[in-house]
Subunit: 376 residues, 4 copies
């Protein structure tokens, strides 16, 4: 089988998970290419070596800036903090590499726009990894909406919360530093929720917001304290271009919430609800059911005819978080074969950054901020 | 036992329910007064007569405007649409009657302010019936927050939705007419949610909103179509005076939601969740539980030591919607005995109206609207 | 309106609840007779007096044995412990009174048979108050099964547990004394579950069982300890006459269960699940739904077209435990009008006692015990 | 790193899943040996070849009977239907191979006993793959029980149902043939539930049962119909040696249940509930919580300090079915290092077979069947 040479940058949570997926993808999915774990880059020599050995990367290097220029690499897999997405992607685009980039796409809409336009102009395959789009329950939600069973979508309620920063004694990490992370939960969590809203409901036309820093100062590893430069929580209301309205809540201070990526969608003929903490389930209510027995159905999305599920186990045997990555990466490889589009791409990533910029501005000014339609 | 003479105006849903409660209250609660169902007023002669007979009102009259002046009446119970709350209350206040008024208090903040100030100045007992405050699970939530177990409250998510107007063939009713209802779900539903937020979190400092009319024109009973003059759905974000932030979603177009009055509250030491459709339950998560076994507890709020529950059945035997009214009315009668305060009162109703005015203005202008602190 | 004179024996939990229902029934349901709270009997003079006054019983007497002979009484309402059900009912039958008897019907099948045959022969209206049959969600379950939507019923899982006796320091009460209560949770709890199984699935043909006394000795009020003479928990498996199989679990030692009266029913075309702790909901799964969106529906059984619900509040406004009694008592009064049958009657009560006898015997002997078909 | 040479027999569901785990285990867990996918055996030449290639087995052969004798193989991994577990295991034991055998261990207790005794005498590491023991939520349940937090365990309710055979047009498969499968859901499903009961509660002393064939005749692939020789559903009640009682329900005719492996455990100080369809959650109720806020906690078992979870993703990122196999196989390899015991072993498998034999006999005879204590 033809091989697709992967070069990865980043060896932490996402680096590990991407490695696992590249390594095993062809065991579960019929692919036009077999991914080859060719080149791994990182910043720390010893962890990079053990990472490469553990996952079977053939070569590894600390010269991560040079990976884009490496002739053998077909796909650049960017698993770094957000501040490196732009320079690494732009380098990759220049070299004509296909790019799989972790989310959020960039530090702001301006970077995002440049990346999207450059990727489009260079003709590469580009993908930003909002993996939740490929949770089977979410794809089923999309199919239900696309089929018209929900009628006209009227109302979105999105929430993405965890409790990760609840402890004020937790030292500052890169994800609380604006210059590295771009923003706080707006980038880390809510960008996923916005991507789901755009996928399932449509483009967002405007946003109003309140943002809060809850613990403004934290210990610094090594001693002393430092300032948190990202927001800790946000509440937003939006108008969609198609007339629907909606809200988003995001926080890293939500006691008891571990990965509470949840939504409710109300349409004129039915409604949907989803919570990633119960990722194998979709709630669906239909006005077309007989009135006496209408109710929210808890669909166990695990049948072989459900999206992507034929690759896995018999019904009722839950899949987990990592499987959403398998689904995304198989679609990515299909897209590379024939240079097709895959969504969400850098255009979507740019739209996502537009939203973050607007939400931050709306929070500061108190005014509703309108998002400009972006050219594709 | 001393009696308390009740005069009621309104014979529909709320009229029936209030009658049931007045009639049975003393069987379940020890009261300083026994309510006497003295005087019932309505606008339709035949339904008024059967209403009075069914519930045992001693007298009835179509001259509802005169009830306030009726010497024997101690308590004016106002169960009319919102547009009559102001004139009826003001008449009652002038006559020194105690007033139990259905929600929302008024048509706007200006009416509400006048009512609150007049009631305060006249020294009557005044109460606006946001009955959900006296759902035992909600009182337990309040006790948890007041005890400090939740730490500092950081984030509120409120929603109140139903599906009542989903059918576009449904004719216009008074609750879609601005001049009678004041507003749509902002008055009918979300005013309850705002009252709960004020009760559990604190005063609201600002609001941003988007409001929508979804079905702008509907059939009119008798023929033709007419314009819906109230909003159909709203999304709001708020700042609380204490620094917490939050969101509200409300709609009468939410397929599958029957009386979805639900909230989540996140504090620095724990969190709470509630849904009135499962009114006997409260969800509670505590950071003080041992880490390995932390999780949201589903508290079945039915023990004899839970708020108000000693009056009812053994644990695990659910109470229903009407019981929240029993709890409110027993507190009201306790307040009348000794002319004490009961909350929420007309001041709270006024604050609620402020919020609605602000949310409507915020929706129109796109600007965050700050609520002025009201003098008590 | 014609009146129906009620005589009640018993002033505790059931006495209170029945009084409330008799008093208010005609406000919510159109009845051929208005219940008149005529005569209350009890064993304790002071509590009887306050009971009568609180609920408005016109007369009261300590001579409860004579109530059956009281000319004015039309309906004998028996709210005593089980050991008095037989003598009181037999006396009432002799006098031709209609009888509403609390559950379980009797102390054993022999008593039950005599009661059922005497009641049948005398031609009175007789009803044993397995109230859960008239929970709207349960009636909806019955309608779904009767309509054929579940296909052939194959499997029943019933459970009825609470935690009432978990504390070993709790003194012995009448409900732990075999000579008063007949048996433990088999009578107090599981008899309801058996009644639901007979209602929803069909007659039970055989039972195997294990029974346990968990705390055999307890404090006696006043001093010393005494022996618990009833079982504390039981597990049973059954065959139904129609070929279905099933299990029952019952206990008063189930930590966290308050009134866990729950069942699952599996048929060849669908299935149902119910838990009284969420009594306004029914779970329903149908093989007739489109495969991709099949799932258990949580039906909020609160629409005006749901069983009995037109009498109450708008959809989504929960009803509670006591409402099941309203539904039963309205049907009872309808039956009295025209001397019609109402189910479950003393025949059903007898079958229920047969089951308890058989379960106790099965537990002792280790053998499967077959229930003899009872003549109607 | 030292390698451990695996030889596998079976290429279907379990073959695929075991391969995936052997291949990836060392990426997630620190192991004393790295598993080497050495030898794969099956019965069909073409599917065996593609299986071997897909998963990276170095060698493959149709002579599966000879695998046990293959010098290089350290571990025999038996993924065949039950009828081959005995001959393959006995061959492996003779050759001194360590054995990982799929469940149920054998066709009956007699085979099981022989296997357990031979394995013990030969001193190999032996394991029967009741993988659900190593679901993190189940291990947490075990820890809670072992710590004494549940007090004395009183009552078990187990259920394992799916809907796999609901369609009567489904042709007969090997899992409905007694000579291949041993029994129906008693082997396929309930054996897991019994293993969990033995793990969490203790040894089972007696069982009473009813068993049913629901669809006795089915189409045969190729034409005609044949007789189903295994039961389709069973209900059982048990006594545990420690005095607890319990019930089991199992069926492959449960509409809407996909992999409904669920239990409730009631103890004198608390209780637990688990459903594998929500495998990342454990329900826990504790009498030690403050009374006002007692309730079942939904523990999201995904913290790094939860059993096995440090190997996976951050909290709130669900793991799936296959991860339970990772946990089992890592423990198996740890046991091989130093020839330690791992549970459940062939002794446990034998006890499980005893139970099935007893349940079948109890169903036939109607008598309670006592399980003989097995020597270890």
């Amino acid at each position: 089988m033809r091989e697709l040479n992967i070069g990865i940058i980043g060896t932490k949570f996402m680096g590990r998970l991407h490695s696992h997926v590249w390594k095993n993808l062809s065991s579960f999915f019929d692919l036009p290419f077999k991914p080859r774990l060719l080149y791994a880059c990182g910043r720390d020599a010893s962890s990079l070596a053990s990472f490469s050995e553990k996952w079977g990367w053939e070569k590894h290097s600390l010269e991560w800036r040079d990976l884009a220029a490496c002739k053998d690499v077909d796909v650049l897999d960017i698993c770094t903090p957000p501040n490196l997405h732009y320079p690494l992607s732009m380098a990759g685009i220049r070299e004509g590499k296909h790019i799989l980039c972790e989310k959020p796409l960039a530090m702001n809409a301006s970077e995002g726009r440049e990346m999207a336009e450059a990727a489009r102009d260079r003709g590469i395959v580009h993908y930003v990894n909002h993996n939740y789009r490929r949770c089977p329950a979410v794809v089923l939600a999309k199919e239900i909406i696309s089929s018209g069973k929900l009628g006209r979508v009227l109302h979105w309620r999105g929430v993405y919360m965890n409790c990760n920063l609840l402890d004020p004694a937790l030292p500052i990490g890169w994800n609380m530093v604006k210059d590295i992370a771009g923003s706080g939960p707006l980038s880390a969590l809510n960008s996923h929720s916005v991507d789901l809203a755009r996928y399932l409901v449509g483009e967002i036309a405007s946003v109003s917001a309140v943002n809060r820093v809850i613990v403004p100062e934290r210990p610094v590893k090594g001693g002393g304290t430092g300032k948190v430069t990202t927001e800790d929580a946000s509440c937003m209301v939006v108008e969609f271009e198609n007339g629907a309205i909606g809200s988003f809540d995001t926080s890293r201070f939500a006691s008891g919430r571990k990965n509470y990526n949840s939504f409710e969608i109300y349409g004129s003929r039915g409604s949907l609800a989803f919570n990633f903490e119960r990722m194998n389930e979709l709630q669906y209510h239909s006005e077309d059911d007989p009135p006496e027995t209408q109710g929210f159905r808890t669909i166990n999305v695990s049948e072989s005819f459900h999206p992507y599920m034929t690759a896995w186990w018999p019904h009722g045997h839950p899949i987990g978080y990592e499987h959403t990555f398998f689904h995304a990466f198989t679609d990515f490889i299909q897209a590379v074969d024939g240079n097709k589009k895959i969504k969400p791409d850098f255009y979507d990533g740019w739209r996502g950054m537009q939203f973050i910029d607007a939400a931050l501005k709306a929070g500061e000014t108190g005014a509703r901020v309108y998002l400009k339609a972006a050219e594709r």
